[in-house]
Every structure is written in structure tokens, then in C-alpha cells.
């Protein structure tokens, strides 16, 4: 699977048309469309881990949306690129889908939107939090280092959410 993490849960809502889906999920942070789409190449069973590592690396608290769309099924070209998470697994599995122009971005987004029922997956937040709690409980070196390191205090809400779910 080549998964692109979604930013909005309502991207999966029936009210969201293909153009809005394109604009919301395939935009470049500096404006216009992103011609190098951030993705992770992972197996189905690795999706919870991927979400956990991705979001804890980049957000201070569990986000409202934990969902992704498998863009790999639409055949885009991806290149291995060094990722920027705090975890080796997601750094090594990070990919960029390289697209020539806005039209190529739109075609990919419209294909994904037309197949959302099969291509999109919501990941339960409790499953992600439980994964984190389990990793910490077994003393996973990367997770412990993150929790106890300088970034750990900013992630306090994640650790509490893990405690709530994982005990």
C-alpha cells in the first residue's frame, strides 16, 4: 500500500465533492497543488504503527482525523525519500509520489475520490493510542527516547491518551 494521510475526516463525507477533496488533501503548504505527495509505503498491518509514528512526530496531541487513502492502487510513480519522523520505520518507508503538473495531481485525486469506499481507511484513535502505550510498556527504545527527551513534554497529551487506552 502507498498511503497518504488525510488532513480532514470530512474529506470522506458525502458532501465533499472531488474538487474539494483535491483542494483539501493535495495542496502544497505554500499554495497551489503539491507535485511531490508525501506518502508511506507500508503493509495493511503496519497502518496503525504508521499513524502513531507520523502523528506523534508532528502533532502535540491526537488529531481529530486518523485516516488515509491508498493512492498506490492508482499506479503513480513514487520515489524513496528520507522521511522526517522521529522513527526509523516511517523514515525508511516514506515515499514521495512525483507528479508532472496540476493535471496529474487532479487525475490522481479524482481517481481516489471516486474509489474512496475501497481506497480510504479510518484508523481508530484508540488503536493508535494503544499502540503507543504498548510500545512504551515494552520499553521500545525510540518511543522511550521520545517521551523522555526534549520533545516529550510537548507530547504530554499523547502519553495521557495512551495511558487512558492502554492502562
Amino acid at each position: 500500500m502507498l498511503i497518504r494521510v488525510l488532513k480532514r475526516k470530512t474529506s470522506l463525507a458525502p458532501e465533499t465533492d472531488a474538487l474539494t477533496f483535491l483542494q483539501a488533501e493535495f495542496a502544497h503548504k505554500d499554495g497551489g497543488y503539491d507535485h511531490r505527495l508525501s506518502c508511506y509505503e507500508v503493509e495493511q498491518a503496519e497502518c496503525v504503527r504508521t499513524h502513531a509514528e507520523h502523528f506523534v512526530s508532528f502533532t502535540q496531541r491526537p488529531p481529530a482525523t486518523l485516516a488515509h487513502v491508498d493512492v498506490g492502487r492508482f499506479g503513480p510513480v513514487s520515489v524513496a525519500t528520507p522521511g522526517e519522523t522521529d522513527f526509523q520505520f516511517t523514515r525508511e518507508h516514506y515515499r514521495e509520489v512525483v507528479l508532472d503538473d496540476d493535471g496529474a495531481v487532479a487525475r490522481l485525486a479524482f481517481s481516489a475520490h471516486a474509489a474512496l469506499a475501497e481506497a480510504a481507511t479510518e484508523v481508530p484513535k484508540d488503536a493508535v493510542c494503544a499502540y503507543i502505550a504498548a510500545a512504551l510498556a515494552r520499553g521500545d527504545a525510540e518511543w522511550v527516547a521520545l517521551r523522555d527527551g526534549p520533545k516529550g513534554k510537548d507530547r504530554e497529551r499523547w502519553w495521557k491518551a495512551g495511558q487512558r487506552v492502554g492502562g
Partner: protein
Amino acid sequence: MAALAPSWFSDDVPTARWHPSAATMAPFAGFICNEEPGSGRPMGESILRRLAAEKPVDLVNLAFHGRLGPADLTYVAETLGLLEDKGLATSALTQLARHPHPMVREGVVLGAAQLGGDEALALIGDMAKQDPSAIVRGVAADALDALAE
């Protein structure tokens, strides 16, 4: 550029206040299409964050410009949560909570959660109970849970 009051906009706020000047809109000229709201290219989150930091009133004006589609408005709403003027931000978010598209209202929840404060929390609470979209109600309930932790 035509300044149209969005149809979902409350009548109890003078709409003239929200019409942005040409200078405000200049940086967005390449992204906003005058023919159909929401048909321009996305503005991107970086410029919205810069507006929040440097020209917060312009960010609010942008929300009510009337030419942005749901995909831009959801990020405008979220970015309103970064404003130091919580009263201004809450007022704008309360208006945007009436937008007909659930993606915009999801952005309202995220912005209000970022903003914090009693009024923003009350807004999220209302949306968790009353928003017409089950997805938005769920996002709002999650936000309340997260803020309580």
C-alpha cells in the same frame, strides 16, 4: 473583485466590516477565482499562518470574503485558532460554524480547540451535540475528550 456576503452569513453582523480591501486580497490573486467560489487553486497553510501572525484582521476578512470554497475555508478556520485576539477569533469561528459544508465546520472545531477558552469550548460543545453532520459531531466530541485529558 465583487464582495458578496456569503448566504450563510449572519445578518446581525455588519457585512461591510468583513469585505477585504484590494490590498488584502493581492497576495491571493493567483489562488482565488472570481467566477465560481472555491474554483481557484488552494492557498496553502503557510500563507494563512503568516496572516494569523502578521495581519490577523485580514485573516478574518478572508474568511468572509465570499469567494473561498470549503477546502480553503477549513484551513482558514483552523488558522483562526492561532490568533492572539481570542474575541475576534471566537466571533469569526462562531459565524463559520454556520457554514453549510461540514469540512468548514470541521475546521471550526480544530480552530476552536487550538484557541481554547470558555467561549471556544462552549462552541465545540454545541457542535458536538447539534452539528448536522455526524462526522463533525464526532470530531467535536473527540476534541472535547482531547482537551479534557
